[in-house]
């Protein structure tokens, strides 16, 4: 870099994403605390390890192929032509944003003095990937094998969510063009898909022993540690704030980008490269959090577990359009999402005997789905992109945001890329006898041998005289 302004812009952007990555790490700290707080004592250590090991597994697979998928798949392939090369094939040509540069063997996937952005951008998306896998992790605690969860974590974290990101989040994604899909802070791209995936796995995995009485009545399984749950969810809120920043491009000159001759307009943009402000989304983040907390406290009658989770669900529901909403719209949308998610959770639990241990399907899946649909109505008519705005279905221009497109997008996220793959992979693992831990182990507790060994050590140490 020899031009001072260019260097400052580049290094500011590099540092900006790096900070968001560090902030988003707190999401995972929060998820670990939350899961341990929600699990029973005899399963604690395995629960913790299950969630922790998704970090390296998703990271290495994200390096090997996940990042490549994001850059290769925006066209479908075969659904809508790329604005970069006008082809509907996988984007692997010589164009600037081609997947060619992001194979694991690429020299840009390492320290490269000509590239200050790829690594931090890769890491920001990686932290989204951990989140997707971690959402699934909470729902299935206390009865899944670590092996099976590792496979499922890789599937959702390094494969399926990134396909939906290529389709509905990438500036060249076919869902933007054909459906007018808009999901600025990932109501669907991360949350609805992960919730749907978790539901698919739960349908095969089955409930924890004792969750339902012989007459089918659900029971609350405790004890839980409310303090770990509390701190965990506060950390997830904090990391989510970093996630919002990570979904933006911090500084971008849109004039030349949109082909406007002589126009210079520097701004922050959302992931679709349309203008928003970090200031504005801060309003909306906090107001949707507040809406969620208010509604959750009311509908759950002050239950702390649901109230905290509802704060998260409120943000998730408003996230699709939080780049453009008014703060009070964000608050109301957050409230609506929480009420629907809460009601649906208990209805599904009773009707289908689904044991979602932490309410992940509701908080992420249902709230995310509802958020996408609401966004279609509230932002109806806004352009889904700054590039060549056009009509739905024509495939070469970008359709405007609309209710039908958002509804179809929600189905794609929750069902097509979430529920169905989760169900199928869980079925395969089940057929291999690798999905669920043995019944006697579930009753005894996954940590039994660790605890027994620790007790022996304690006795030996306490009776020692030297």
């Amino acid at each position: 870099m020899t031009d001072q302004l260019g260097a400052l812009t580049t290094i500011f952007t590099e540092f900006y994403y790096w900070v968001t990555v560090v902030l988003m790490f707190l999401i995972h700290v929060g998820f670990c605390m939350y899961e341990v707080g929600a699990s029973r004592y005899k399963h604690h250590q395995h629960t913790l390890m299950k969630n922790t090991m998704l970090i390296p597994l998703v990271t290495v697979t994200w390096f090997f192929f996940g990042w490549w998928i994001y850059w290769a798949f925006p066209t479908g392939p075969g659904i809508a032509p790329s604005i970069m090369n006008e082809s509907t094939a996988l984007i692997t040509d010589e164009s600037t944003f081609s997947a060619r540069w992001y194979t694991a063997a690429s020299e840009y996937m390492a320290i490269n003095l000509g590239d200050h952005i790829s690594g931090v951008f890769w890491a920001a998306f990686l932290l989204f990937s951990w989140t997707a896998a971690s959402i699934v992790s909470g729902a299935i605690i206390e009865r899944i094998t670590t092996f099976a969860f590792g496979i499922l974590a890789i599937a959702i974290g390094s494969c399926f969510w990134v396909i939906d990101a290529a389709w509905g989040w990438h500036f060249d994604g076919w869902m933007l063009k054909i459906l007018g899909y808009h999901d600025a802070y990932a109501s669907g791209v991360i949350h609805a898909i992960a919730g749907g995936f978790a539901l698919g796995v739960l349908m095969v995995l089955g409930p924890r022993i004792g969750k339902f009485s012989s007459s089918g009545e659900p029971r609350n399984i405790g004890p839980r540690n409310p303090w770990l749950v509390t701190v965990g969810l506060f950390l997830i809120y904090t990391g989510f704030w970093g996630f919002y920043a990570a979904c933006n491009i911090p500084i971008f000159d849109l004039g030349p980008e949109y082909g406007m001759e002589g126009v210079t307009y520097f701004t922050a943009t959302n992931i679709y490269v349309t203008p928003t402000t970090l200031s504005g989304i801060t309003f909306n983040f906090l107001m949707s959090l507040s809406g969620g907390l208010l509604a959750g406290y009311w509908i759950a009658k002050g239950d702390p577990f649901w109230t905290y989770s509802s704060g998260l669900a409120g943000i998730i529901c408003a996230s699709a359009g939080n780049d453009l909403y008014h703060p009070i719209q964000a608050m109301i949308i957050g409230m609506i999402g929480v009420v629907i998610a809460y009601k649906l959770h208990y209805w599904v639990e009773r009707k289908f005997k689904i044991d979602d241990a932490v309410g992940a399907v509701a908080v992420h899946g249902y709230a995310g789905f509802v958020g996408l649909v609401i966004c279609g109505f509230v932002l109806n008519g806004y352009p889904s992109s700054g590039y060549s705005v056009g009509a739905m279905w024509d495939g070469t221009t970008y359709a405007a945001i609309n209710p039908l497109g958002q509804f179809l997008g929600a189905i794609i996220m929750f069902v097509v890329l979430g529920l169905i793959p989760g169900y199928v992979i869980a079925k395969v693992l089940h057929a291999m006898g690798k999905l669920r831990i043995p019944r006697d182990v579930e009753i005894a507790g996954l940590d039994y041998e660790m605890m027994e060994s620790a007790k022996k050590d304690e006795r030996a140490v306490s009776s020692a005289t030297r």
């Binding site: 020899t2 004592y41 005899k42 597994l57 290495v60 697979t61 390096f63 090997f64 694991a104 063997a105 690429s106 020299e107 390492a110 320290i111 490269n112 003095l113 000509g114 590239d115 094998t145 670590t146 092996f147 590792g150 496979i151 690798k434 831990i437 043995p438 019944r439 006697d440 182990v441 009753i443 005894a444 507790g445 940590d447 039994y448 041998e449 605890m451 027994e452 620790a454 007790k455 304690e458 140490v461």
Partner: protein
């Protein structure tokens, strides 16, 4: 393996030669590293799946009750 042996010489090169990969083995070792990485990743699954299966089978055979773990709660 060193890709740069003198930073002054390196930064004095034409701009297009300065910007580029600087890690050891740049430009020739990447595919080998990827293959090694994939083998390590898949090998980890095989090894840990085997040990987990053994652990679960062993514990399953002992048929502990739902409250037996309470006698193993440590106080330290």
């Amino acid at each position: 393996m060193a890709n740069v042996t003198n930073w002054i010489d390196h930064l004095n090169k034409p701009a297009e030669e300065v910007v580029g990969a600087v890690y050891p083995g740049a430009g020739g070792s990447e595919m080998t590293l990827v293959i090694i990485g994939v083998v390590l990743w898949l090998g980890w699954h095989v090894l840990t799946a085997r040990s987990e299966s053994e652990e679960l089978s062993r514990l399953s055979r002992k048929r502990h009750g739902p409250n037996d773990h309470k006698s193993n709660v440590t106080e330290w």
